[in-house]
């Protein structure tokens, strides 16, 4: 009976569950970059590059799925390196501005190129991604980023986020680590885009536009970036919320968006560290502190 219930549940909510996993992965891609104090508005575009590249590889060249996904991760990482090296030498909002423009370039290119299928999108990508693959990737990525936080790289990211000048004079090559944070974010975004492309048969340019980029930022703000679980939680709540509201009888689109806005506002006003501040942890080394 439970099996029957489960299969029914999956039939109704399967696509929502997949969506939550994909959004959580995208939120984590931005989390990496934010954890080094850098704001990227290009992660949706990186997901787009990864999705299109891997979709095209699978459809036209019959590349096996795992290799196609890997290619979809590496290509945007290389692109990020090319953008990051000149831009990240400078401090401040330049990365946000450059990636904002870059995102538009990618979207317009996807609309106008022949190989991407234009405005209608890339149609006919084989369906190879399963819920298991999405959540396996999510678990592995979360574990990786959690461990990264305690490694040399993670400590450098945190130091740069807290005070770039102080980080420099304690011997951190800030340009190198900022670029790494940006490239790693692009890698995860591209990988997720590739996984997503093989989920729904079709991807369209609009899915990777400016509003998607901002949505990732909102997941991080609502969930909080002090812990790797924050963005996952933020993506989970904000992706599931419209369905919950539908169940509660709220059907009108604008009203649902309004609820998202109100949640964002409340979090910014009352929970500067996001929902993850409910976990009751402070600082960076939480797990081991109890021993003292």
């Amino acid at each position: 009976m439970t099996v029957e219930f489960l299969s029914q549940f999956l039939a109704v909510y399967g696509s929502l569950i997949n969506f939550i996993g994909v959004n959580a992965l995208l939120a984590l891609s931005l989390y990496v970059t934010l954890s080094a104090g850098q704001l990227s508005l290009g992660n949706a575009a990186f997901a787009g590059i990864g999705g299109y590249a891997s979709g095209i590889l699978t459809m036209h060249l019959n590349v096996p799925y795992p290799i196609s996904v890997l290619a979809g991760a590496f290509l945007p990482a290389v692109v990020a390196l090319l953008i990051g090296v000149p831009v990240l030498r400078i401090r401040g909002v330049f990365l946000a501005m450059a990636t904002l423009a870059f995102g538009e370039v990618v979207r317009i290119a996807a609309v106008n190129l022949g190989i991407t299928g234009g405005a209608q999108g890339l149609v006919g990508i084989p369906n190879k991604t399963t819920t298991f693959i999405i959540y396996g990737t999510l678990a592995a990525t979360t574990y990786f980023l959690k461990v990264l936080g305690g490694a040399r790289i993670g400590w450098s990211f945190a130091s740069i986020r807290e005070d770039e000048t102080a980080a420099k004079v304690m011997g951190i090559n800030t340009t190198y680590y900022k670029t790494m944070a940006f490239v790693l974010g692009a890698f995860i975004a591209g990988m997720t885009g590739a996984i997503y492309a093989h989920l729904n048969f079709i991807i369209t340019p609009g899915e990777f536009g400016f509003s998607a980029a901002v949505q990732l930022l909102i997941y991080n703000i609502v969930g909080g970036t002090r812990s790797v679980y924050g963005p996952v939680l933020g993506a989970f709540i904000l992706t599931a919320l419209p369905e919950v509201l539908r169940g509660a009888g709220v059907t009108a689109g604008p009203l649902r968006l309004g609820v998202n806005g109100v949640i964002l506002l409340l979090v910014i006003l009352y929970l500067p560290n996001g929902l993850s501040s409910f976990f009751g942890k402070k600082g960076k080394l939480h797990a081991q502190r109890d021993g003292e």
Partner: protein, 253 residues
């Protein structure tokens, strides 16, 4: 000379913050840097730590020119510093601030951590112990798990010194390290600086508290409008007519 300034000049727009500053630091001593506000003391420390590049002149650390190197490479040569306006990692605890400061000496490689190797755990324990030792010598080990943002002003200065010590520096640049401290804290800092020098560290110290500078420094350089007025022992500097003029003014005759 362990650190040698050779005609270092730097201007910001029309303001000559430093003009042809020349003096040297002897290894294993505390060298004082004094002068009225705006005389270029902090700019000079910024030049040493690579935050500000000099327009002209040379800066030699143990004979090696460092004035064109970026900050992180100067730090790798064993130069640590504190800031006049205190730059802590405020959302980290005190212990975490010092652990972050171990960047240049810690391995913390990713793969052993991912595989949960015992060596990674051992290294983590060792780095915590060393960080606690730094906190203890700065006298704030009892605040190890407090957030840096919750510290008092004097404690913040001590934490910044502890974090600088985590680098195990050969040259320590201190920009007004005892500002805002009460007398007992000042005595503790005095002992700390003396013991650091005994262990072979060279210190360049900016400070406005004259008795403190006179007691601690073996030599003092006086800056005024970005120029070196004199370099000498505390007694020589105290008698120097131009120093008296810069600090106290001259009586009209």
């Amino acid at each position: 000379m362990f650190l040698e300034f050779e005609k270092i000049s730097r201007s910001f727009g029309g303001l000559n913050a430093l003009s042809e500053v020349s003096f040297g630091l002897e290894a294993g001593t505390i060298h004082g840097l004094i002068g009225p506000n705006g005389s270029g003391k902090t700019t000079l420390i910024n030049v040493v730590s690579g935050i500000t590049e000099p327009d002209s002149g040379r800066l030699l650390l143990a004979g090696r020119p460092i004035h064109r190197l970026p900050s992180y490479r100067i730090a790798a040569l064993g130069v640590a510093r504190t800031f006049q306006n205190i730059r802590l990692f405020s959302s980290m605890t005190c212990l975490e601030n010092v652990i972050a400061g171990q960047h240049l000496r810690a391995g913390r490689a990713l793969v052993p951590l991912l595989l949960r190797l015992p060596s990674a755990r051992r290294e983590e324990r060792q780095s915590r112990e060393e960080a606690m030792a730094c906190l203890a010598s700065a006298g704030i080990e009892n605040r190890a798990s407090a957030l840096a943002s919750s510290l008092s002003y004097g404690e913040r200065r001590r934490l910044e010194i502890a974090r600088a010590m985590a680098l195990k520096p050969r040259l320590l640049l201190l920009d007004e390290p005892i500002a805002g401290m009460h007398r007992r804290e000042i005595e503790e800092m005095e002992n700390l600086f003396r013991s650091l020098v005994e262990s072979g560290v060279t210190i360049l110290l900016i400070e406005h508290n004259m008795p403190f500078v006179m007691r601690l420094c073996s030599r003092i350089t006086v800056l005024h409008f970005g120029q070196t007025v004199t370099t000498g022992t505390p007694e020589e500097v105290a008698r120097h007519p131009e120093v008296i003029e810069a600090y106290l003014g001259v009586e009209d005759r």
